[in-house]
């Protein structure tokens, strides 16, 4: 049989020398060259662990040491083990306590009388692998948590049933002006203008009946200062501490909306001006041109000098007409913004 040749570092906390030797023998059956450190008491183990800086792959812990035992021993050891897997060893079969110690964070609970080399080896390998997965999971959770808390856009999680804020990020705190405690004592209703509450309740009612929660994604919110802002919302369902919740990302578009509205108003004025050009200004001009046409027919026979003057009036009016046509054509190419665009909705 080929032995495991990884360089395991193992701490064995065991006051009974006979048991230590037995464990050592068993380990050597499957592991080629382990580094085994032996501590005979909790205090000794504590010193070793504190100096080791996480260099052990696994810690064996006898649950009855001369200076400490039982639950307290487990808790204290886990604390200084700082994430290293701890395998409990005991001479007594106590199912309740074994379950309890697992709940406290022990990776395995081994009965000395039932130990065999393979059981011991398996327990080490499993504990190390489990620990690695757990570690990755924690890192990934941390990454996601940072994504939430460090997001430059306001984000929060709210309870779908009570509408209470379950978590808020720093950007939300800054943007809305409520401090963290303040925020977490509020519900969605507190950040909506009171006249918009029916909208909120209708939306939630529709959601509970199976419709999409945000058919329209633009809402009005109220800051602590009372200022009303327009926001665009992105949200997704999550389970937060066993509660059905929504993760919300907020984008304040107040300025953008104001900007668009200003442009829209200007556009309307602009169109009005061009309508005046096209219809109102042109009417007297057209009359003038009609008169010139009429006068031309009268003047032809009589007076050549008058004819020349008429030609000038005619040319001037044609020139003016060309200018008006030009303005009118340009203004017709201005198309209005899409009125269904939620960003320019009126509330």
């Amino acid at each position: 049989m080929k032995k495991d040749d990884k360089g395991y570092h193992i701490l064995i906390v065991e006051d009974n020398f006979g048991d230590f030797v037995l464990i050592e023998e068993y380990l050597l059956d499957y592991i080629l060259n382990p580094t085994l450190i032996h501590a005979r008491s909790f205090q000794e183990a504590k010193l070793i662990l504190e100096e080791s800086k996480n260099t052990f792959d696994v810690v064996f812990l006898d649950l009855s040491l001369p200076d400490l035992s039982g639950e307290k021993l487990i808790v204290d050891t886990l604390e200084i083990a700082n994430g290293m897997p701890v395998l409990a060893l005991t001479g007594f079969s106590d199912l309740d306590f074994s379950l309890k110690s697992l709940a406290l964070g022990v990776s395995d609970y081994l009965l000395k009388d039932e130990l065999t080399p393979i059981i011991l080896y398996k327990s080490i390998i499993y504990a190390i692998e489990r620990n690695r997965h757990f570690d990755e999971l924690q890192k990934s959770e941390k990454r996601y948590s940072e994504l939430f808390h460090l997001s430059p856009l306001p984000m929060w999680v709210y309870d779908l049933e009570t509408l209470a804020f379950l978590d808020v990020n720093q950007a939300a705190i800054q943007h809305y002006g409520f401090d963290r405690q303040d925020f977490l004592s509020k519900t969605l209703e507190h950040i909506r203008p009171s006249e918009d509450l029916p909208l909120l309740h209708n939306a939630l009612k529709a959601y509970r009946e199976g419709n999409s929660l945000y058919p329209k994604r633009v809402f009005r919110h109220v800051k602590k200062s009372g200022e009303i802002i327009k926001v665009e919302i992105e949200s997704s369902a999550i389970l937060f501490n066993q509660r059905e919740a929504k993760l919300v990302l907020v984008n304040d578009i107040t300025e953008k909306v104001q900007y668009i509205e200003t442009i829209e108003t200007q556009n309307r004025t602009f169109k009005e001006i061009s309508w005046i050009q096209s219809h109102v200004v042109r009417a007297p001009l057209a009359r003038l041109m009609g008169l010139v046409s009429l006068l031309e027919s009268e003047a032809i026979e009589s007076n050549p000098e008058l004819n020349e003057l008429l030609a000038h009036i005619k040319n001037s009016s044609i020139e003016l007409d060309d200018i008006i046509r030009d303005i009118s054509k340009k203004s017709e190419s201005i198309s209005p913004l899409d009125e269904n665009d939620p960003r320019i909705a009126n509330n």
Partner: protein
């Protein structure tokens, strides 16, 4: 004797009515003109003409004071008037009007102001060809 159809000129601009009538006097003094400065008075006249079942022609300005030219045309359609042939006149240079005008079968011509002798001659020849046909 050939029946000369009536030509109703409907425009709230009194000066323009004067210009148009002077122009017709030069182009065709025989033309039977009837001038109206409001849509309402012209519609009243058309009511009478309809009873006589005579084809008549209209020069209709789109922007009247008492109603728009479109309202005028809708009123004609609701009366089921088959005898009125319309030249639509506008002082606007917008393309929209020409598009809307296509929806009305009573419109047989579309002219932008100014009304010059060119326009009067064109209208005159269209009236001529329409009258001989009927």
């Amino acid at each position: 004797m050939k029946m000369i159809p009536e030509l109703l000129i409907i425009d709230d601009d009194e000066v323009l009515l004067m210009i148009i009538s002077k122009m017709f006097k030069k182009v065709n003094p025989e033309r039977n003109l009837n001038l109206f400065s409001s849509g309402k008075s012209a519609l009243d006249r058309l009511e009478e003409l309809k009873i006589e079942e005579n084809t008549c022609f209209l020069m209709l300005d789109i922007n009247l004071k008492d109603m728009s030219g479109w309202d005028f045309l809708k009123e004609l359609e609701s009366r089921n008037d088959q005898f009125s042939k319309v030249f639509l006149i506008t002082s606007s240079v917008s393309q929209n009007n020409q598009e809307i005008a296509k929806k009305y079968s009573s419109i047989i011509g579309f002219f932008e102001k100014p009304i010059t002798f060119d326009v009067i001659n064109k209208i005159e020849s269209i009236i001529e060809s329409n009258t001989t046909l009927s």
